[in-house]
Symmetry: C2
Subunit: 348 residues, 2 copies
């Protein structure tokens, strides 16, 4: 419904998905285009108009770029802006729970301004003494993913042996630090020597290795875990998961957070070591963070003091501007990023 009076319109740059991708997304699968947007939320619409500040590049977005018949997440619409987690500022609100100048994180569009109609999983940001971009990472969905997977699913105990794959990524760097805080022995794998250095010298992992330089994952794990692995936080699936199975300790726990190594394959790799799940009495659990958002207040209470006291660090890889957003997103599937990949919508 048109309301009377002036409607402020603004130009609005958007990152558009051209067509569904099949396997490996390319920068050219997206393009930047200019549009316009009305900066007023129609009265009674329960919607918000926001200015996007930071956008999060997350592995699950690949599934939305594909045309999948049945999946937990709906595909994007080619010709429309892609969507994802982000940090934004409310410019106008027709929703009783939000007002102008509120800062929020949740699902928004890859564009300068968005109209948000789905506010169920939109969180108001209350603490601004930490970098706002953190709400796309350590204080947002990836942080909750690390928290839930490690604490709720893996139930760590002091002195246990923890292995994390994709360990310098948005989630992995946190799991490793959480494990150290709990008094565990922690090893991480990553895809470059620079990342391995980060794990050992910044995040305090006990050991780390570049999986690209290890021909036999199982032998590597046996060397680093002579007593076996109690907890495996899996971000990659495939061969690494299969090698871990051979090295699990009795009553081990595996959290399956996502299998990025499998996302670019026509056919997933076959895992042959499942029988050890029985003999070692392992619990393996897949999860999606959405089911656990009710725990967000608990997580904030735990993590904010640790961030302020630099007991937990967070490394971000911030791409400047929407013009670099497509490259940033594509980059996470080849491991180009170091730390959590974020896009700053305006060059700050």
């Amino acid at each position: 419904m048109e309301t009377g009076g002036m409607i402020d319109e603004a130009s609005n740059m958007k990152v558009i998905l051209k067509n569904y991708v099949s396997v490996s997304p390319q920068e050219t699968d997206m393009h930047l285009t200019a549009g316009t947007i009305k900066l007023k939320a129609p009265t009674g619409s329960n919607t918000l108009v926001v200015k996007n500040l930071f956008l999060s590049c997350d592995p699950y977005m690949l599934f939305k770029m594909m045309k999948l018949e049945s999946h937990y997440t709906q595909s994007y619409t080619p010709g429309s802006p892609i969507t994802g987690y982000g940090v934004a500022k409310v410019l106008d609100s027709a929703h009783p729970d939000f007002e102008k100048d509120d800062l929020v994180w949740g699902i928004t569009g890859w564009e300068e301004y968005s109209v948000i109609t789905e506010t169920n999983h939109l969180f108001k940001i209350q603490h601004t003494d930490v970098p706002l971009s953190y709400y796309a990472g350590i204080l947002g969905m990836p942080g909750m993913t690390a928290y839930v997977g490690f604490y709720e699913l893996c139930c760590p105990k002091k002195g246990e042996n923890v292995f994390v794959s994709a360990a310098s990524g948005a989630v992995g760097q946190l799991v490793g630090q959480f494990a150290k805080l709990e008094g565990c022995y922690v090893v991480g794998s990553a895809g470059s020597n620079e990342k391995v250095d980060l794990l050992k010298n910044k995040f305090g992992f006990d050991e780390a290795f570049n999986y690209k330089e290890e021909p036999d994952f199982s032998a590597t794990l046996k060397r680093l875990f002579p007593q076996g692995i109690d907890i495996y936080f899996d971000n990659v699936g495939g061969k690494m998961l299969d090698a871990v199975l051979l090295n699990m300790r009795v009553h081990g726990r595996i959290a399956l957070c996502g299998m990025i190594s499998q996302y670019n394959l026509e056919q997933p790799e076959g895992l042959r070591n499942l029988t050890t799940i029985v003999s070692k009495q392992v619990r393996m659990q897949g999860y999606l963070v959405f089911d656990y958002y009710h725990l967000y207040p608990n997580y904030l209470q735990m993590i904010l003091p640790k961030i302020r006291q630099t007991q937990v660090l967070y490394v971000e890889d911030i791409a400047d501007g929407l013009e670099n957003a497509a490259a940033a997103l594509v980059g996470i599937f080849s491991g180009r990023n170091i730390g959590k990949q974020v896009v700053a919508v305006d060059c700050l």
Copy 2:
């Protein structure tokens, strides 16, 4: 130490493992031989001398017939009698907790008489109004395996969809009946039409199929579970498990009880559908029943009235005499048995 007086000696037929087996055990890997045994337990030895009544043929015994470097179970010693679960009567006891004429179930030898030195997992049989052979099956280790896997690990809820493989076996037939008692929809797979008939017409499964007649397990499961599977009780692993993964429902649970389809293979089959564990948020757990024996009194309390009121049935395949024991044991790996395979030591 020799005690004074007469020592009763008896002749003792034994089933001996000749040599370690590599993959598929044959009847000729064992042989029957005669020995003698002293029927008196030396004072202070904490041992028992028992007369074996029933011996249980269980899939895990294959691992003990192999020379495995690291496994949860120790290999047999070639030239010695094989061991396993059984039902026995105490002839003489030098252990304070047991006395002559007690009936027990637990680990014993494949022979007429055994000296039992390890009494930690030996259970005294208190209820003899049910067939004694049941203590090698529904009232013994297989019964506890079904109980623990289904109730403790799968946490069934009324109306859920349950799939059981090797469903007419020692464990599967119980899981299916437990699931029906809980108000679930239950489908079982088995390896012959006779077994399928048993599932549908004796155990009350809602549906059952002969996996040997189904070329595409995933299509079969999709047909029988149009809404997906909430609980999968896996006794077989391999291709069936991989097909189940494609058909799991969100928040599904899988108990991995053993992977008999993989035991005879040089290399296990590769599973390709692990990624659905993440997207469907599935929990998959391997277990060994030994950790749960503290729950045995709870189980007995639940199951005994149900047996007496014929609310739960149990089908056994009883081989007569030690001379048929090797064939009975080998038969379970090709599915020759119908129901729980037991050996009656004396022809009764």
